[in-house]
C-alpha cells in the first residue's frame, strides 16, 4: 500500500499561509508498511521557505529537513517559515516538497503562500488589484469591519491610541484587525506600506490610490481601478491634496534612517516618531483632505498604508534592537494613562465603556485568524510586541514585512 502524506501549516487544515516567522506545522503519512524517512525542501517558483527543526520550539534555519514519518500515522511536528527575500506573489507559488530518503523525485509537493506585507510601490498589478478589490468590498459592507475601523479612529480613539507609548501597539492591533477582515474576503491579501521617504509613482497613480493634476483637484482613478467605486457616506472619490509631486517626496519628510537614529536603543526615545514623521506626514505633507484630521483620516485608503509604514519602521527597529517585550523597560516605556500601560487591554476590543475609557466601543472582540490563535479576543499592549513569536512562539501575530527578517 502506498503511503499518502498530509502537511498542515500552522497546525491547521486549509491555512497554507506563512510569513517569515517560524510557524508550527505538522506532517503525517497514512500508515504504510513501516516508518518512512523523508526530506522536506522548498519547491516554489517564487516564494521560498526554510525549516526551523522539529519539536516544541523553533531552532536554527536550514534549507531542508529530514524526518521520519511513523507507520502509525501520528503527526510529526516541525517549524517552517518563509525565506527572507523570497515572499510569494500568490498562493501556490511556494511549496514544500516531500522526497523519500532513497529517491530523487518528490513523492508530492504541497503548495502554500509566503504571505508578506510589501512596499506598495513595488506590488505587481495582480497584488495591487487584489488588495484594492478586497478593500472596496470591505468598505461596501454596511456596518461591517471597515465602518467599525472608521468609527474606532474617530474622536474616542484620541486618548486610547495617541500621545502615549501605546500609539504604536494600538495602531499595530488596528492594522491587524483590518488586515484580517480583508483576508476573510481574499486570504492572499496583506496590507501594503507606503514608504514615504522614497518616491512612489506607482502608488500615487490612477491605477492605485489616485493621481492628482493640481491642488484641490479630485483624485483621478483609472476606469479599471476598483477605487473608482470608493465612497464615504455614499459620495464617491477621495479628498487629498499632497504637498509633493506624484513622483517625488516632500522635503519635509523624515527618512527611515533618521527615525532609527533619533530613536536610539530604547522605546522611550523611539516613540517620538509619533510627532515626526507621523503627525507631520498627516498634516504637513498634505495640505488638505481627510488624511489631515484624525477623525476622518481612515476614510482615505492611504491612511492604512501610511500607518503600515510606521509599523514597519517599528518592526525593523525591534529587530535591530532585539526589543520584543522580553524586557518592558527597554522594549516599552512607562505610561501615565489607562490603555497605555504594558499589561492594559486595548480599547475598543476590550469592550470597556466605563470611564475613563470612551463611552462606546465599536465592533466586538479582536478578530480571529485561521493561522494563529494570538492575540486573542482582548489584546493587551504587551501582546503586540512579540509579533513574530521570537520570545514565545505562540505569540506570533501572523504578519511580516518584506524588509524585516525573522532570524
Amino acid at each position: 500500500m502506498t503511503a499518502s502524506i498530509e502537511i498542515q501549516f500552522n497546525n491547521r487544515a486549509d491555512t497554507p499561509y506563512v510569513g517569515f516567522a517560524a510557524a508550527p506545522c505538522r506532517i503525517r503519512s497514512i500508515p504504510a508498511k513501516g516508518p518512512l524517512d523523508v526530506k522536506l525542501a522548498s519547491a516554489g517558483t517564487v516564494g521560498k521557505v526554510r525549516f526551523y527543526g522539529l519539536g516544541a520550539a523553533p531552532g536554527a534555519a536550514t534549507d531542508t529537513l529530514a524526518l521520519t514519518l511513523p507507520a502509525d500515522g501520528s503527526w510529526v511536528s516541525f517549524w517552517l517559515g518563509g525565506a527572507f527575500g523570497s515572499p510569494s506573489i500568490a498562493l501556490g507559488d511556494a511549496a514544500v516538497s516531500v522526497t523519500a530518503s532513497w529517491a530523487t523525485t518528490p513523492l508530492l509537493s504541497v503548495p502554500l503562500m509566503v504571505r508578506i506585507r510589501k512596499n506598495a510601490n513595488k506590488l505587481t498589478d495582480s497584488e495591487r488589484d487584489r488588495f484594492l478589490t478586497a478593500l472596496v468590498k470591505l468598505n461596501k459592507q454596511q456596518g461591517g469591519p471597515f465602518q467599525i475601523a472608521r468609527d474606532t479612529h474617530a474622536v474616542n480613539s484620541v486618548a486610547e491610541a495617541h500621545q502615549g507609548p501605546a500609539f504604536l501597539p494600538w495602531h499595530r492591533a488596528y492594522l491587524i484587525s483590518l488586515e484580517r477582515a480583508l483576508q476573510t474576503i481574499d486570504p492572499s491579501v496583506t496590507l501594503p506600506y507606503w514608504k514615504f521617504d522614497e518616491p512612489a509613482p506607482n502608488l500615487f497613480s490612477a491605477a492605485f490610490v489616485g493621481f492628482w493634476t493640481g491642488p484641490y483637484m479630485p483624485m483621478v482613478f483609472n476606469p479599471t481601478n476598483p477605487l473608482q467605486l470608493w465612497s464615504i457616506s455614499g459620495i464617491p472619490g477621495v479628498q487629498r491634496t499632497p504637498q509633493f509631486p506624484p513622483d517625488g517626496v516632500s522635503p519635509l519628510q523624515r527618512s527611515e534612517a533618521y527615525c532609527m537614529a533619533i530613536g536610539g536603543t530604547t522605546y522611550s526615545a523611539f516613540q517620538g516618531l509619533e510627532k515626526d514623521p507621523h503627525n507631520n506626514t498627516h498634516a504637513r505633507i498634505f495640505s488638505s483632505g481627510w488624511i489631515t484630521n484624525s477623525a476622518t483620516a481612515p476614510q482615505d485608503p492611504l491612511f492604512f498604508l501610511l500607518h503600515c509604514n510606521l509599523d514597519r519602521i517599528w518592526a525593523k527597529w525591534q529587530w535591530l534592537q532585539n526589543r520584543f517585550g522580553q524586557d518592558p523597560a527597554t522594549s516599552y516605556a512607562s505610561a501615565s494613562r489607562i490603555g497605555h500601560n504594558f499589561q492594559d487591554t486595548m480599547w475598543p476590543w476590550n469592550g470597556i465603556v466605563a470611564s475613563p475609557r470612551p463611552p462606546t466601543a465599536p465592533g466586538g472582540g479582536f478578530p480571529e485568524s485561521p493561522c494563529t490563535a494570538a492575540p486573542g479576543p482582548m489584546p493587551t499592549v504587551a501582546s503586540m510586541l512579540d509579533y513574530q513569536g521570537k520570545v514565545r512562539p505562540a505569540a506570533s501575530l501572523g504578519f511580516d514585512y518584506d524588509d524585516v527578517p525573522f532570524a
Partner: protein
C-alpha cells in the same frame, strides 16, 4: 543577502543619518523668513499648552499682512501638533474661531486649506458661506467645484439643489463633475443619474461618476444599466470598463445572458478591460457552481 550583512548595512545608514542630524536654530528674534519658518517648525506641544505662545501663533496665522508662506507653515504646524492630541481639545474653540476669520482670506491657497479644515469638521459657518457662494457667484470665496467638494464632507447640508442646478447650467466641466459626485448621496437624484449615465453625448467622466453614484444609491438599477451598456457594441471604452467593475462589485451576480459578451471582452485589445472582464467572468462561475 544574509541577515548579518543586511544588519550591517542598516546600521551604517543609521549612523550616517545620526551624523547628519542638525539641531534647528533657536529662534533669536531674527525677522528673516527662513529663521521665522525654522522657529515655527521647531515648535513642540508646549506651543499648544502655553496661552501666550498659542495666541501669538494664531495672531500670525490670521494676519493677512504676514508672509503667506509663513502663514501656511503655521497652519500645517498647528494641524500637526493637534493631530490626535489629547491636549488640543481645549484649544479647539479658539482654533476654529481663528480659522473662521480666514474664510475670506486674500490668499486663495490659505482660504482653500482653511475651508477644508473647517468643512471636514462640519463647521456650520463655513458651510453657510459656501452655500451662499453657490447661490450667488459674486460672493463665492472658492470656485463652485471646490465648494461642492467641501460641502460633500457633510451630506446633511442643503447643497443638492445647487448641485442639480449646476448640472443643468454648469460654469465648467469640473463643477459639473463635482455636482454629480455630490448627488451620489441624494436618493432623489437616481433618475437624474440614470439619465446622465445613459446619455452617450455626456463626457465619459460624468457617466463614470454616475455609475459610481448609482453604485452607492441603487445597486439594482445600476445592475440593469451596466448590463445594457455591456451588451452594446457602441460604447466608450472607459464606460465599458467602469460598468464591468460595477458588476464585479454589485450585490447581484451578472445575468447569464451577459456571459458570451464578457467572454468577448476578455479578448479585448485593452489589457485593462480584458483583466476586469476576467474578474467578472469568475462571478458567472460562482453563480453556476
Amino acid at each position: 543577502m544574509d541577515s548579518i550583512e543586511y544588519r550591517n548595512q542598516l546600521e551604517a545608514a543609521i549612523e550616517a543619518a545620526r551624523a547628519a542630524i542638525s539641531i534647528p536654530p533657536v529662534a533669536t528674534g531674527d525677522s528673516d523668513p527662513a529663521s521665522r519658518e525654522a522657529a515655527i517648525v521647531a515648535l513642540d506641544h508646549e506651543a499648544i499648552k502655553d496661552d501666550a505662545q498659542f495666541g501669538a501663533l494664531l495672531g500670525q496665522l490670521t494676519d493677512p499682512s504676514e508672509d503667506a508662506s509663513l502663514r501656511f507653515t503655521i497652519l500645517g504646524k498647528i494641524q500637526s501638533l493637534g493631530f490626535g492630541s489629547v491636549s488640543f481639545g481645549a484649544r479647539r474653540p479658539e482654533w476654529l474661531a481663528a480659522l473662521r476669520t480666514m474664510i475670506a482670506d486674500p490668499d486663495p491657497q490659505l482660504r482653500s486649506a482653511v475651508l477644508d479644515c473647517l468643512s471636514i469638521q462640519k463647521d456650520a459657518q463655513a458651510q453657510s458661506i459656501l452655500l451662499n457662494g453657490l447661490k450667488d457667484p459674486a460672493v463665492a470665496v472658492v470656485p463652485p467645484e471646490r465648494a461642492l467638494q467641501l460641502l460633500a464632507n457633510d451630506i446633511h447640508t442643503d447643497a443638492y439643489l445647487h448641485a442639480r442646478n449646476i448640472i443643468d447650467d454648469a460654469p465648467s466641466d469640473a463643477a459639473r463633475l463635482e455636482a454629480v459626485r455630490l448627488l451620489a448621496a441624494d436618493s432623489e437624484s437616481v433618475p437624474l443619474l440614470e439619465e446622465l449615465l445613459l446619455d452617450q453625448s455626456e463626457l465619459p467622466e460624468v457617466r463614470r461618476l454616475a455609475i459610481a453614484a448609482l453604485h452607492s444609491l441603487d445597486q439594482a438599477t445600476l445592475h440593469e444599466h451596466a448590463h445594457t451598456i455591456l451588451m452594446s457594441d457602441d460604447e466608450h471604452p472607459d464606460v465599458i470598463s467602469t460598468s464591468l467593475m460595477a458588476l464585479v462589485h454589485n450585490d447581484a451576480a451578472p445575468r447569464d445572458d451577459l456571459a458570451p459578451r464578457v467572454d468577448e471582452l476578455m479578448d479585448h485589445s485593452s489589457a485593462e478591460i480584458a483583466g476586469v472582464a476576467a474578474q467578472l467572468s469568475t462571478r458567472f462561475s460562482s453563480a453556476e457552481s
